[in-house]
């Protein structure tokens, strides 16, 4: 039964267990039945996340879509900013010698800025609604996810500011002074995504790192997961008006499109960029893996955003 989502178990759990009991008494072992139950459970989970062709009610579809979109974009941005951080460090020391890397870097920076604008526009009304609900003491289901989000964010900000002091770009060419990317921002995002590293495949080298840094590489992904789970739970539980749902869905659609553009720019660097001066822009295996994860996350984001946007419009017109 654990294959199935909680809402599904609440509705069909008892009768499904009864049927399984009857089936088991008749045929104790059946790999086909076991596979069918597992697959159907996974399918039910995908459906509840707004990812299958079996559409939910518009209200549920928008919420499920936005929650899944938030999770997919969180994954995308963690890997995306890790790639961007690597490029920023390289450019801090020497300018890239290919148009591919330069264009990719500029495009990625522009899209990251767009993400910040979209996130602000999306989170402001949600945050205000949460604060109002909590203030009126009607936010029973929102307290725990809000605490989870808050704890994750505090840990990430404190940790990234602390470990940002070790940014490899410090002392390089002062690109920060040119005003394109403030050095503090680059250092912060580098420290935030320190766990996206090929050193995991080389434990010997990893053990030579300061223990605190290794500890941060373990803790920071957990803090990111806490923050992302907090946001998705809030989106699922917050009572939003149809207009707000449509607004959020449209912003989500724009964010998914931005993710696709960022993916293209990242691919240009990996495919066309080259190692650059002093091998500073070399794309390693971890970058290729990151790109694959980003592609999967972008595909999920585009699919859920499209469905949520469609359902959001249906909410208003119905």
């Amino acid at each position: 039964m654990r294959w199935y989502p909680k809402t599904w178990r609440a509705r069909y759990g008892d009768e499904f267990s009864e049927l399984l009991t009857a089936e088991l008494s008749e045929r104790p072992r059946s790999w086909r039945r076991a596979a069918d139950v597992a697959w159907s459970g996974v399918f039910a989970r995908l459906t509840s996340a707004g990812l299958t062709a079996h559409s939910l009610e518009p209200h549920d579809q928008v919420r499920a879509g936005l929650a899944t979109l938030a999770g997919a974009l969180a994954v995308f941005l963690v890997f995306g900013t890790a790639l961007w951080s690597q490029l920023t460090i390289g450019w801090q020391w020497a300018e890239p010698n290919t148009i591919g890397t330069s264009a990719a870097m500029v495009a990625m920076s522009a899209v990251l800025l767009l993400f910040v604008v979209l996130a602000t526009l999306a989170l402001a009304p949600l945050g205000w609604s949460v604060v109002r609900r909590l203030g009126r003491r009607h936010g029973g289901g929102l307290v725990r996810p809000s605490l989870l989000l808050g704890a994750g964010l505090v840990l990430l900000v404190v940790g990234a500011r602390h470990f940002g002091n070790g940014w490899p770009g410090t002392g390089g060419h002062h690109w920060a002074h040119q005003g394109l990317v403030p050095g503090g921002v680059a250092a912060f995002l580098w420290a935030l995504t320190l766990s996206i590293s090929s050193y995991w495949a080389h434990p010997g080298a990893l053990l030579s790192f300061p223990p605190a840094e290794v500890g941060w590489m373990i803790v920071s992904p957990l803090a990111i997961v806490c923050a992302a789970v907090g946001v998705t739970k809030i989106v699922r539980r917050l009572d939003m008006s149809p207009r707000l749902q449509r607004y959020e869905a449209r912003l989500g659609n724009a964010a998914a499109a931005a993710a696709a553009a960022y993916l293209v720019a990242s691919s240009v660097w990996i495919v066309d960029g080259g190692p650059g001066p002093r091998n500073l822009f070399h794309a390693g295996a971890i970058d290729t893996v990151g790109l694959a994860v980003m592609a999967a996350a972008a595909a999920v984001a585009l699919r859920t955003a499209h469905r949520a946007c469609h359902a959001g419009t249906a909410l208003i017109t119905s």
Partner: protein, 125 residues
């Protein structure tokens, strides 16, 4: 027997009965078998499995059965009745009956054409 709340099913913009089963994808077959079984009267999950096995020679696995049931219920083609124990019976709705009738009529037209053409060109015993 009292009906359970089906506000979700009512709120959904359901497709027309004739198009309803067309949206089921790979669950269209199991859905047709379930509707055909329920055309006789209300049944719970295990009774549906046994009945379908008896009249169609197909044993629906539990996961497939409940995925199809949930879709049928979501489209308003069947409705869940109040359960007296852990087994919940389901019943065909009038929309479901219309959808089944139209779907089977379309299948019969295809079967009739296929059989007529076969008998005209092939000498099968």
């Amino acid at each position: 027997m009292a009906r359970t709340s089906s506000s979700k099913a009512n709120a959904r913009q359901a497709p027309t009965p004739s198009a309803a089963l067309g949206t089921f994808g790979r669950y269209a077959g199991p859905a047709t078998l379930i509707l055909s079984s329920l055309a006789e009267g209300e049944k719970h999950g295990y009774a549906l499995t046994k009945d379908i096995e008896a009249f169609a020679g197909v044993r629906l696995a539990p996961g497939t059965l409940y995925e199809a049931l949930s879709r049928l219920e979501g489209q308003g083609l069947i409705e869940a009745l109040e359960s007296h124990d852990r087994r919940r019976p389901y019943r065909l709705t009038s929309v479901g009956a219309t959808a089944l009738k139209e779907h089977l009529a379309a299948q019969r037209r295809v079967a009739d054409v296929g059989l007529r053409r076969l008998s005209g060109t092939w000498d099968l015993a």
